[in-house]
């Protein structure tokens, strides 16, 4: 075995030393693979950043209750009585003021984007007083909280960055009424930061919603009581609702878009990978052709066929890995933390997020490069091993 490995090492080191003589082809092939890695990391970092933005505000001890059969808040509807019964269920956290439950309304409004001036959808949420205590990470960073019963709004920091008209003191005309922006809030980088909040009791009449809500946000006594909570809801014959942990709900809400971005990313990366594969094949076939006599000489001296195959695979792999690492690093420096906003198709709302190049993405790019390298080297390596020695010795 050591013998075999030393053969592989020797041949691979001879091969690698010839790289300067064919640097053009080698560079083209490595750049092709770097491109695949960069595109893959770039696209997936969008999906990853979007998912992170959506899920960062997700907690396991917060439950969101919708009407049974509703996919999202837009298609859900709950009465005040139902909201009260949900608040009375087992597992709900309580304070002196009562259960930590917020029955909420969710509407979509149009505001002009700062970047283009064109209108885009922004979620406008009516909440009850416990909403901030339930979510826990809501902080007013400018101005103040809205006063219950008044047409006042607070804007998420992401929404305020992306849309014009959300400056503190500004008045917005929304749904036949004027609303004053009285504060800007952060929400731990989560989806709440892309929303505008007001008092649910003020939003209901403005949108002719009577006394109905769309969702109930509930703080549980702990993450473990979720099951007891859902059982309590299921056992109440007067309720036809479903509850999800906030983290699962948010992941579910972003799945369509993240899936789409990932799909496009993989598709484009796969097309580029095909191109890079041919580049790698071409490089390695030419490398083998240029070294036919050397390979035949080594074989004639007694070097085995399998060390020849493995050594060529190693060379191809090293080239691919170099390309993959450079591409992944370039994507990291170009994309990581890049600020963007997009529409979440499931809620039709703008979500502000930052591209996130995670270690897993970098590893997956390098894994792609490895596969390209192995496939790109395999066939030329087999050809090299099958070369008739006697004929190869006379190649010039």
């Amino acid at each position: 075995m050591i013998h075999w490995l030393s053969q592989v090492f020797s041949i691979a080191s001879f091969n690698l030393r010839t790289i300067p003589e064919r640097k053009g082809a080698v560079l083209a092939s490595a750049v092709g693979i770097a491109g695949v890695a960069a595109v893959l990391v770039g696209f997936l970092s969008i999906a990853e950043g979007f998912r992170a933005a959506i899920m960062s505000s997700g907690a396991d001890d917060i439950a969101i209750v919708l009407r049974s059969g509703a996919d999202n808040e837009m298609t859900s509807g709950l009465t005040r009585e139902e909201a009260r019964m949900i608040g009375d269920a087992a597992g709900v956290a309580r304070t002196e003021d009562g259960p930590l439950v917020s029955a909420e309304l969710f509407v979509i409004i149009n505001l002009p984007k700062r970047s283009t001036g064109t209108d885009a959808n922004v979620p406008f949420r009516g909440v009850e007083k416990p909403a901030t205590a339930i979510r826990g990470d809501i902080r007013i960073i400018e101005g103040r909280m809205f006063e219950p019963g008044r047409s006042e709004v607070i804007a998420g920091a992401g929404a305020a960055r992306a849309f014009s008209g959300l400056e503190v003191g500004n008045t917005l005309r929304i749904g036949q009424a004027d609303w004053t922006v009285v504060g800007i809030f952060t929400g731990g980088g989560g989806s709440a930061e892309s929303e505008i909040w007001t008092d649910a009791a003020v939003l209901q009449p403005a949108y002719h919603r009577g006394d109905s809500f769309q969702s109930v946000h509930v703080k549980l006594t702990s993450a473990e009581t979720f099951e007891a909570f859902t059982n309590a809801l299921a056992n109440n014959p007067q309720l036809e609702v479903k509850a999800m942990r906030q983290r699962d709900f948010l992941a579910d809400q972003s799945s369509l878009l993240t899936g789409f971005i990932q799909g496009i990313g993989f598709f484009i990366a796969a097309l580029m990978a095909l191109g890079a594969l041919f580049g790698a094949l071409n490089t390695m076939y030419s490398a083998v052709a240029a070294r036919t006599r050397e390979i035949a000489t080594l074989r004639a001296l007694g070097f085995g066929a399998s060390p020849v195959i493995v050594s060529i695979l190693i060379e191809s792999l090293i080239l691919a890995l170099a390309g993959g690492i450079v591409g992944a690093a370039a994507a990291y420096f170009a994309f990581d933390g890049f600020q963007a906003a997009t529409i979440n198709w499931q809620s039709f709302s703008q979500i502000a997020f930052a591209f996130a190049v995670t270690p897993q993405l970098l590893l997956s790019a390098i894994a792609w490069a490895t596969v390209i390298g192995l496939l790109g080297g395999l066939f030329p390596a087999i050809r090299a091993a099958r070369l008739p020695i006697a004929a190869g010795l006379r190649e010039t």
Binding site: R293, L301, G302
Partner: protein, 232 residues
């Protein structure tokens, strides 16, 4: 390698047919050859007569279509590729017309190549390489790369590589074919010395009567068979 009755190489009833598409080219026809141990044999014949093909069969670089190739009592025509590779590395030294040195390695490292297939330590390998380079008179050029050596010097490095494992059999395919007369003479003198002083069995393919004159016996290939007389 043990020889039978002093015979090192025994080729019996060998046919070699190459196929090019539907065409069959019968290069060797029922060829017989015996080479005693220590002989310096020259193989001559016109281009395409099968000299190199015969050399490749004896060196285990190719297999006969039919017949027996026995070296030192071992049937190499029946060996697998892996067995042949191991057999070559132990018993055969190869010298090529165009030297076939690896350009990325210096003379010392080129000569060391066959020793990488042995279990010798680095120090032991280095000692063997120094000895081989001394035999061919190139100790002072050990760190030179092939491109900085003359043709004659490159061929001497090639010969050092062929003898570094101390094989019984040296197979030389037109060893002077790419050299001027002076360098060619030096190489032939070296081969002669290896045969006379070190007891090597040498089979040399050549076109050059001047080269074959240095051998102890010359055979001619004609129409796929060996004769003692030159082809007219």
């Amino acid at each position: 390698m043990t020889a039978n009755n002093g015979t090192l190489v025994r080729v019996q009833g060998v046919d070699k047919i190459f196929r090019r598409g539907s065409e069959e080219i019968h290069v060797l026809k029922g060829l017989n050859l015996e080479v005693p141990k220590g002989e310096f044999l020259a193989l001559m014949g016109p281009s395409g007569s099968g000299k190199s093909t015969l050399l490749n069969l004896i060196g285990g670089l190719d297999r006969p279509t039919r017949g027996v190739v026995e070296i030192g009592g071992e049937r190499i025509d029946q060996m697998s590729d892996r067995e042949l590779a191991a057999w070559r590395s132990r018993h055969v030294g190869l010298v090529f017309q165009f030297y076939n040195l690896l350009p990325v390695l210096n003379a010392h490292r080129n000569v060391e190549l066959p020793l990488l297939l042995t279990h010798l330590t680095k120090a032991e390998r280095s000692k063997h390489v120094d000895t081989a380079l001394k035999v061919v008179g190139l100790s002072h050029r050990a760190r030179h790369y092939p491109r900085t050596l003359s043709g004659g010097e490159q061929q001497r490095v090639g010969i050092a590589r062929a003898i570094v494992t101390d094989p019984t059999l040296l197979l030389c395919d037109e060893p002077t074919g790419d050299l001027d007369r002076k360098s060619g003479d030096e190489v032939l003198s070296l081969l002669q010395a290896l045969s006379r002083e070190h007891g090597k069995t040498i089979i040399m393919v050549t076109h050059d009567p001047h080269a074959s004159a240095r051998a102890t016996r010359t055979l001619h290939l004609d129409k796929g068979q060996l004769t003692d007389e030159p082809v007219k």
